[in-house]
């Protein structure tokens, strides 16, 4: 994107690289949170023998995951709004590539956000080691 005429006047999130790697950030966070949830439940049940009254570590991990997904989604949301031709973003230009990947990232972020919430809800409603 170095040939972009606006150069350094772009905002920080607009200057960020958009690749397939940034695309999979939200689902990766979701997957990590999923694994974290199971490990946390297994370890805390095994160590304490009972379900934690207030699962501080779990809440912190969930908030962190949600924040990471929200940030990724917000960046993608701003990148989608960068000036360019209307959808479908199917041309071989930098701006089309960016807007396509950003849109896909935004949708994945929405899905992952809900996914993390769905993974976390059982802790609130079941709260039992059995």
């Amino acid at each position: 994107m170095s040939e972009d005429p606006r150069g350094d006047r772009r905002k920080w999130h607009e200057r960020l690289q958009v690749t397939l790697w940034t695309l999979i950030v939200p689902p990766t966070v979701w997957a990590a949170h999923f694994l974290f949830s199971y490990l946390w439940a297994a370890i805390s049940c095994a160590k304490q023998g009972d379900f934690a009254r207030f699962p501080t570590l779990f809440v912190a991990g969930t908030v962190l995951a949600l924040a990471a997904i929200a940030l990724s989604g917000w960046i993608a949301h701003r990148q989608v709004r960068m000036p360019g031709s209307p959808p479908p973003h199917q041309d071989g230009t930098d701006i089309d590539r960016l807007r396509f990947l950003a849109k896909a990232t935004l949708l994945l972020a929405g899905l992952s956000f809900v996914g993390v919430l769905f993974t976390a809800l059982p802790v609130v409603f079941i709260g039992d080691c059995r």
């Binding site: 929405g110 809900v114 919430l117 769905f118 809800l121 059982p122 409603f125 079941i126 709260g127 039992d128 059995r130």
Partner: protein, 341 residues
């Protein structure tokens, strides 16, 4: 022309299928006829899901219908995308979240207390070893004897929390009383807990729900949910060994070595290899839920168990005459005469 031929055959096919499906309906072994807390909430959840799913399917069909018949140019790309956003993302998310929040509390195990009745059930090829105990008696840890040993029959007090401790001795079985709660695996070397609460007195049936061998389908048991007072009275009475006559049946029981595998409380027969026969006369079925407990059936089962239960471990006693087998059957049933429930 074609229509008039097709319509009756479709009706006939529907009626046939419906009849076949409805033939499976019963009140004693069905998740659709619950008598326990968990089965009842599961049925309600199933009904809501089925109704909601039908409404969604019909609604989608209606939208397809309208979209396919809409005049040219009436539908715009933007309105289509908005529809996808709302009906494809927002509404499903809200509906699924609501369902999750509603259904999760039903998955929470019932709270248990120290005085709750524990029933330990061990799956065997192809029957059930049953032991009753109170958890505060430490009865199931081998430190003290359980309150009562039984087989192929489970009795429950209505309205009280009961903890099933489920395990197996040979292969994996699965303990399932459809009207009471979900099924639970019985795994050798491991004890699984299933906490239940019966809500309606009656006679029901449970089955093995994990293929376990030749007679897997012939491995069932009776479930009797009783009013708490009646249950307590039964448990107290059942712990007193019935008095048996010392007649020909007793002699046959001793001569044939039945006590090497079976137990009869109050006698020298204390083996735990086969089903406990102390309360045999009280049982509603013979051979783990498969036969009417008549003297004739019992005699025939003793002489040739494999005719009724292929793969059963019990040896055949074909050398017994029919008359001897009948005498033994009648003698075994003496529980009933002495200690009727």
């Amino acid at each position: 022309m074609r229509k008039s031929i097709a319509a009756p055959s479709v009706t006939l096919a529907s009626v046939t299928v419906a009849t076949l499906v409805l033939a499976g309906c019963n009140g004693h072994q069905s998740a659709l006829a619950p008598f326990g807390l968990e089965a009842r909430s599961t049925l309600w959840l199933t009904a809501v899901l089925a109704a909601g799913g039908s409404v969604i399917a019909l609604g989608m069909a209606a939208i397809y219908f309208v979209a396919a018949r809409a005049p040219e140019g009436k539908l715009t790309h933007q309105s289509g995308m908005r529809l996808v956003l709302w009906l494809g993302a927002v509404v499903p998310t809200v509906v699924l979240t609501a369902l999750l929040v509603w259904a999760l509390p039903a998955m929470r195990p019932l709270p248990t207390g120290d005085s709750d009745l524990h029933i330990r059930v061990e799956g065997e090829q192809f029957w059930w070893r049953v032991a009753y105990a109170r958890s505060d008696d430490k009865g199931l840890n081998g430190r003290t004897e359980p309150l009562l040993l039984s087989a192929n029959e489970v009795r429950l007090p209505v309205g009280r929390t009961v903890v099933f401790e489920l395990t197996a001795t040979d292969v994996i079985h699965s303990f399932w009383i459809p009207g009471l709660a979900g099924k639970m695996d019985m795994i050798p070397g491991r004890t699984n807990r299933l906490v239940v609460k019966a809500e309606k007195p009656g006679t029901y049936r449970g089955v093995c729900a994990e293929f376990c061998g030749l007679s897997h389908a012939l491995m069932a048991f009776d479930v009797i949910a009783m009013e708490p007072a009646a249950f307590d009275a039964w448990l107290t009475a059942a712990r007193i060994p019935p008095r048996r006559t010392q007649d020909r049946g007793a002699a046959l029981f001793a001569r044939e070595g039945c006590g090497s595998c079976h137990a009869l409380a109050g006698t020298s027969a204390q083996a735990r290899i086969g089903p406990d026969l102390t309360r045999f006369g009280e049982r509603l079925t013979l051979g783990a839920g498969i036969l009417e407990p008549t003297d004739g059936h019992t005699a025939a089962f003793i002489r040739d168990p494999h005719r009724f239960k292929p793969g059963a471990r019990m040896p055949a006693y074909t050398h017994l005459t029919q008359e001897e087998a009948l005498a033994l059957a009648r003698w075994l049933k003496q529980t009933k005469a002495e200690n009727a429930r």
